[in-house]
């Protein structure tokens, strides 16, 4: 295939939905920011100049001001980005793989596997995730991998439930029946018919879940249970800022805005994707 048609296929939905285009543009911006986060940092995010404490936002040399240690807030906010995005990516992927597999299994194999998986899904979903996360992280310890894995393990039912419902719908489609009548093997049906059919739904759920995981990560970091000491994740920055509500309000405004902007852009993308999905049907 040549480049132009592929490009067209990618761009066509963007033209159709301004929402999706906006979301994609915002996401592109974030990806750029993420890729260049090292380069864009004007200062070492961990090294402060104690003589420069609490420089307000807009100070020459400090775009977003400095914190209680004279560390550059812009650089700290930037350096928090890869951590948050990394946790969200790993936990989402884990949840997707686990939940997707189990959801497909539940749809494909009625009887005990389906019952057990569905019971597990419902039980997990009926317990507050943050409560569970707080307990697990307290025990398992802080850090990138414990946190990512905990969030992934707690949130797979979100995917399992959606994949299960959508798989049931797809497996009941006549074209799947036709494939069975044609004696197409089950793995081939799952790979050829089911997986591509799940893709749009998965894209939507993944997007929203990614946003949820970002929020969860920042919430846990905010409670002091996410990132280890010294990692300037946004949640940790927000927690630190609470000591300086009056002295340095910019310390709160910058990470709060960053979280909200990132989540809103991802939601925009998710809304666009689901609108696209609905339009396709």
């Amino acid at each position: 295939m040549t480049v132009a048609p592929t490009l067209n296929r990618v761009l066509a939905p963007l033209k159709a939905s301004p929402q999706l285009a906006l979301g994609a543009a915002a996401l592109l911006g974030w990806v750029l920011l993420l890729a260049l986060s090292g380069l864009l940092q004007t200062h070492d995010p961990q090294l402060g100049d104690l003589s420069q404490r609490f420089a307000p936002a807009g100070t020459a040399d400090h775009l977003l001001g400095t914190d209680n240690l004279g560390r550059d807030l812009w650089s700290r906010v930037l350096s928090g980005l890869p951590w948050s995005v990394g946790v969200a990516t790993v936990s989402c992927t884990l949840a997707l793989l686990l939940g997707g597999t189990l959801g497909m299994c539940a749809a494909q194999f009625p009887g005990y596997p389906r019952n057990i998986i569905n019971q597990l899904v419902d039980a997990t979903l009926s317990f507050p995730g943050l409560v569970a996360a707080i307990i697990i992280v307290t025990v398992a310890g802080r850090g990138f991998w414990p946190l990512s894995i905990t969030l992934g393990l707690l949130s797979w039912p979100v995917f399992a439930r959606v994949v299960y419902a959508e798989s049931l719908r797809l497996l009941a489609q006549d074209y799947v029946t036709a494939a069975r009548v044609m004696a197409v093997s089950t793995p081939r049906i799952l790979l050829g018919h089911l997986l591509p059919g799940l893709r749009p739904v998965l894209a939507v759920v993944f997007t929203f879940h990614f946003a949820d995981m970002l929020v969860a990560e920042s919430a846990l970091s905010f409670l002091g249970l996410g990132a280890p000491l010294g990692v300037p994740t946004w949640g940790a920055l927000l927690q630190e800022s609470r000591d300086f509500l009056i002295v340095a309000p910019w310390l709160m405004v910058a990470p709060a805005t960053a979280i909200a902007l990132l989540v809103v852009s991802i939601h925009l993308l998710g809304d666009g994707l689901s609108a696209l999905d609905r339009a396709r049907q």
Partner: protein
């Protein structure tokens, strides 16, 4: 529109006058509630003292200069190396109306030295007491197994509970509804704002100026600041220096004092015998590498002076001739080179965050200072619960860990030294050459000789550098305008003195 209607609706109910116009309570923010609620024997010092000293009194207390003075006692004297006599105050009653006298006090001490009592922290403090006698209602005679020069100091933490209530309700029941001789009576452990509610004890021998107190356990600086800003607090304990200006501008009075604790990191020498920190020169290098003065002045705005030894100046046994380690990076590098680490090394420290004001700033500065001499120190945050486990088990995961040199509540320099010694069941720093001195100081009944012994020990400890000494604990609090008479003793607020002024 609906949102605003909702807001207005609630605002209206909020403004509506209360049906029963009571005297406004005194609202005090502290950091924590005592874990054992009203059982004053399970832990020592803060946070228990925040509450306990409002509802209980001990026989003695330490005054502003660090001297031990009588409280529920009128006087005390040393009758011999192993005997103490206390004469008790007359006319004191418990909050349930029963009289306080030598007999009730004897009952409390008898429980403390019983097997059950010995399992409590305060009971353990009394372990040298062999028997307590009450020849009459005013006199209490303590006999000890061996000489105990700091017995009056130890008694500052032995709260006089009402023995009959203690017996009848059991420890658990008593802890919910404690009865003491204090100025206040505990009426609610948690009201709808999460506060402990205290009301005036009708039988108080020191009746309070304000009859109702709400005490808020607010863990972190941010919570206390936020609650204060929302106008719901009159007295706020434990603030950070940079928050003080806000309160000054709102008419609050700012107070500060130096606590009898020294912020420090201990070296786990026992657990890491092959580590660089096992070498005394390395430990000294640590102490030379850091710029205490800068931390004290730039970060803490002078509220916490650099530490020179394990005790603060107003503590018995403090050696005024010892100066803090000078900030000397060259010397530090030299010592490291001598010890065989010219390139430096990396190490880890476990810290508890959120308790000491500006701890994160201090740690960051430490990291920079140590990096300058080649020591790469990583800070690992631990929860207190995790820390205390390691402490009890004597097994430390890292070469350094937070451990304050704490002279409270005895106000005596010996206690923290014993921590850093072979006398501990699971020591992290054990130097046999110090043992004899420590034991002698623990038994010396002559005050001047004992002080000399402690001065000598302080010098020995400085030489061996078992910890990275940082600062003397600073403590800042603010009092709302319109209140007078408030003071803090031994980190515990004396709320009964507070009065409203126009």
């Amino acid at each position: 529109m609906l949102w605003s209607a909702f807001v207005l609706g609630f605002a209206a109910t909020g403004v509506a006058p209360q049906a029963h116009a009571e005297e406004a309570p005194l609202r005090v923010a502290v950091t924590l509630m005592p874990a054992s609620f009203g059982d004053p024997f399970r832990t020592l010092g803060v946070p228990g003292d925040w509450v306990w000293r409002q509802i209980f009194d001990p026989l003695t207390e330490s005054d502003d200069e660090g001297r031990i003075v009588p409280l529920l006692a009128e006087s005390f004297e040393n009758l011999g190396p192993n005997t103490w006599r206390f004469v008790l105050r007359e006319g004191v009653r418990y909050a349930n109306g029963r009289p306080f006298n030598a007999f009730s006090a004897k009952e409390v001490f008898d429980w403390l030295i019983s097997d059950e009592g010995q399992a409590t922290v305060v009971g353990w403090e009394m372990r040298r007491v062999s028997k307590v006698e009450a020849p009459d209602a005013r006199t209490l005679i303590f006999t000890t197994w061996e000489p105990d020069p700091v017995l009056p100091n130890r008694l500052t933490s032995a709260m006089m509970v009402e023995p009959q209530a203690w017996r009848e309700m059991g420890r658990q029941g008593f802890s919910r509804t404690p009865v003491g001789t204090g100025s206040y009576l505990l009426t609610d452990w948690q009201n709808r704002n999460g506060a402990v509610v205290l009301t005036a004890n009708p039988y108080a021998w020191r009746p309070p100026g304000i009859s109702r107190v709400e005490m808020y356990p607010l863990r972190d600086h941010a919570s206390r600041l936020q609650a204060a800003l929302s106008g719901q607090l009159d007295i706020i304990m434990s603030l950070r220096p940079e928050q003080l200006d806000i309160f000054r501008s709102r008419g609050f009075t700012v107070h500060a004092d130096i606590l009898r604790q020294i912020l420090a990191f201990a070296f786990d020498v026992t657990g890491h015998p092959d580590s660089p920190i096992a070498d005394v020169r390395v430990r000294q290098a640590f102490n030379h590498a850091i710029d205490r003065k800068a931390i004290s002045e730039d970060i803490l705005q002078g509220f916490a002076p650099p530490a020179s030894q394990g005790s603060a100046p107003n503590v018995f046994g403090h050696n005024p001739r010892i100066r803090p380690y000078p900030h000397d990076p060259d010397k530090a590098r030299e010592l490291l080179a001598e010890a065989g680490y010219p390139q430096g090394f990396s190490t880890q420290v476990q810290v508890i965050t959120g308790t000491y004001p500006n701890d994160l700033e201090i740690f960051a500065k430490l990291q920079q200072d140590l990096a300058a001499v080649g020591i790469d120190m990583a800070f690992r945050r631990v929860l207190f619960s995790d820390w205390i486990r390691q402490y009890f088990q004597g097994a430390w995961r890292t070469e350094l860990f937070t451990l304050a040199w704490n002279t409270a509540p005895h106000n005596d320099a010996l206690r923290p030294m014993e921590q850093y010694s072979c006398l501990k069941a699971r020591p992290f720093f054990c130097d046999e050459t110090l043992r004899a001195g420590l034991v002698a100081a623990g038994r010396e009944m002559d005050t001047r000789r004992r002080e000399a012994l402690l001065h000598e020990l302080a010098l020995e400890y400085r030489r061996r550098a078992p910890s990275l000494l940082l600062l003397e604990y600073g403590h800042m609090w603010v009092v709302a305008p319109g209140l007078s008479g408030f003071r803090v003793r031994t980190r515990a607020p004396e709320l009964y003195r507070v009065e409203r002024v126009e």
